[in-house]
């Protein structure tokens, strides 16, 4: 149980005792809010004492009497309203003069609610319950907003880093070309141009992946669901990785014994295959194989198996997260954006399915995507 601190600013001792009694053993469960809440009551006999306590250690809720000796409750409200940074607790005014005018003044000065004296323990608990709910929801909203800013900042930092690394490499090669000592050497020239083009390719891939991911996430990528044969999409994707596969002696084969008709967005299916196939070639060994298996039906199954470096269970667990690239001796020199598989996962979800992986180090990995043959029209992408 979580305990909220309630500060009661009230000059009548009998009233303080009654309120304490009504709240001290009161526990609260709220719809939509996790957990159980109890209250710890602190007492102050005047506005001055109340202010001192608030400044020493701010409570969660303040129950504030209207009429107090010395500074009045409304005056204290005024002081609290001026505080910088703004106070994070809520104030409930208690008054025997429950007039509309009083209520208006108190609310203008930041009181959250109003309790007319005399009140029953039930009335008190009802107001405290409502105030607690508002307090917790406000805090939760603030926390989420903060978390969102944090995540966005982290993502941005990673993107910036991932774009700067290739830029620095390209810049370094240009300096070499510019320098009289190295620029006139044909071997340096060839190396500089070749490697710069590779790094630019990597940057372009990162930007494309980022765009794909953002469009899928924002739901702004217009989906065109059309009847298509998945084997055709697979064949086209295989053709596009063929040059790199041939260069490294990797055989890519397609097993689609029966037609695999689907109603889906062609571009989505292309992105899906491209990502899986590029990975299967990239992380393969020279002379290895890539096997693509398609199974049709109400649920369509796409299997892409490679004979590459494989992964440990710990590595596979982290695999589908954004910007996760498994870093080890074997992957160090393989370029990648770290976004390809999170794009695949998002697409699988969008198409009412899931992507899974089975892998063993040194043997290879098999990625399996299982999706609906008829893609759902509009599916909420999960909030992240």
């Amino acid at each position: 149980m979580e305990t909220l601190r309630v500060l009661m600013v009230e000059d009548e001792a009998a009233m303080r005792a009654a309120v304490s009694r009504a709240l001290s053993r009161y526990t609260l469960r709220l719809p939509d809010i996790e957990g159980e809440y109890g209250f710890a009551i602190e007492e102050a006999g005047s506005a001055e004492e109340g202010l001192a306590r608030i400044e020493a250690s701010p409570p969660d809720i303040v129950l504030l009497d209207h009429k107090l000796p010395g500074m009045s409750g409304v005056e204290l409200l005024g002081i609290l309203a001026e505080k910088q940074p703004p106070v994070s607790f809520l104030t409930v005014m208690m008054t025997a003069y429950a007039t509309l005018e009083n209520a208006v003044v108190a609310t203008k000065r930041g009181a959250y609610d109003f309790l007319a004296k005399p009140f029953t323990p039930d009335e008190l608990r009802s107001v405290v319950s409502k105030t607690t709910r508002h307090l917790l929801l406000t805090r939760e909203t603030r926390r989420l907003a903060q978390e969102k800013r944090q995540v966005r900042f982290q993502l941005l930092s990673v993107i910036v880093h991932e774009l700067k690394a290739p830029l620095a490499a390209i810049e370094g090669y240009l300096y070499l070309l510019q320098d009289p000592g190295t620029g006139s050497d044909p071997a340096v020239y060839k190396k500089a141009v070749d490697r710069s083009l590779v790094r630019i390719g990597g940057m372009r891939k990162l930007i494309t992946d980022l765009l794909d991911l953002t469009r899928i996430e924002s739901g702004q990528k217009r989906r065109e669901l059309v009847p298509l044969e998945l084997a055709d999409v697979a064949r086209a994707a295989i053709e596009s990785v063929q040059p790199e596969a041939e260069r490294r002696g990797i055989a890519v084969t397609l097993h689609a014994p029966a037609p695999v008709p689907m109603v889906a967005d062609r571009a989505e299916m292309e992105i899906l295959f491209n990502n899986l196939l590029t990975n299967a070639v990239k992380y393969n060994r020279d002379g290895g194989t890539v096997t693509v298996r398609l199974t049709g039906g109400e649920r369509v199954r796409i299997e892409v198996a490679d004979t590459g470096i494989g992964m440990t269970p710990e590595e596979t667990a982290r695999l589908f997260h954004e910007f996760v690239r498994i870093k080890n001796e074997k992957t160090r020199n393989i370029p990648g954006s770290g976004l390809g598989l999170s794009v695949v996962r998002k697409l699988a979800h969008l198409n009412g399915g899931e992507v899974t992986v089975e892998s063993s180090p040194g043997v290879g990995s098999t990625f399996t995507v299982e999706i609906a043959a008829h893609s759902p029209e509009a599916q909420e992408t999960e909030p992240e």
Binding site: G172, Y175, R195
Partner: protein, 131 residues
């Protein structure tokens, strides 16, 4: 260049950076040995006595560069170390402008930020490796 050819150890996990260092330092008449990380550098140092080392600050371990620099400075004679960093604009840490007294604890002789311009590197090396 007079006398024996001097050997420079280049440690960086970025393949392109190692390549660039090799190309320009070899063109300037040095013998270059590269290592792609702290571990590889340690193995290399078992049978190599470089005259100078160029090390990237951030490799797989955040402080890998410093640990390595520390080892190199403990050797007899101490090896001059040029530390290269790409962190300045990302973290706001401005090593390059730190005064010599401030960078003393880092046990490096020069700090350069990526990308490194060839003439800048040659100047630092000439300062640390007089003929």
């Amino acid at each position: 260049m007079s006398g024996a050819q001097k050997t420079i150890l280049v440690v960086d996990d970025d393949e392109d950076f190692r390549e660039q260092m090799s190309l320009q330092l070899e063109a300037a008449g040095y013998n270059v040995v590269t290592a792609d990380g702290e571990e590889a550098a340690r193995r290399t140092l078992e049978d190599l006595n470089p005259d100078l080392a160029v090390i990237d600050l951030m490799m797989e371990h955040v402080d890998g560069g410093f640990t390595l620099a520390y080892r190199l400075k403990k050797r007899q004679p101490p090896v001059p170390v040029i530390m290269i960093t790409a962190v300045a604009s990302e973290t706001g840490l401005d090593f390059a402008s730190a005064a010599a007294s401030e960078s003393g604890w880092m046990r490096v002789d020069a700090l350069l930020s990526k990308p490194v311009r060839p003439e800048q590197l040659r100047r630092e090396i000439a300062r640390l490796l007089p003929e």
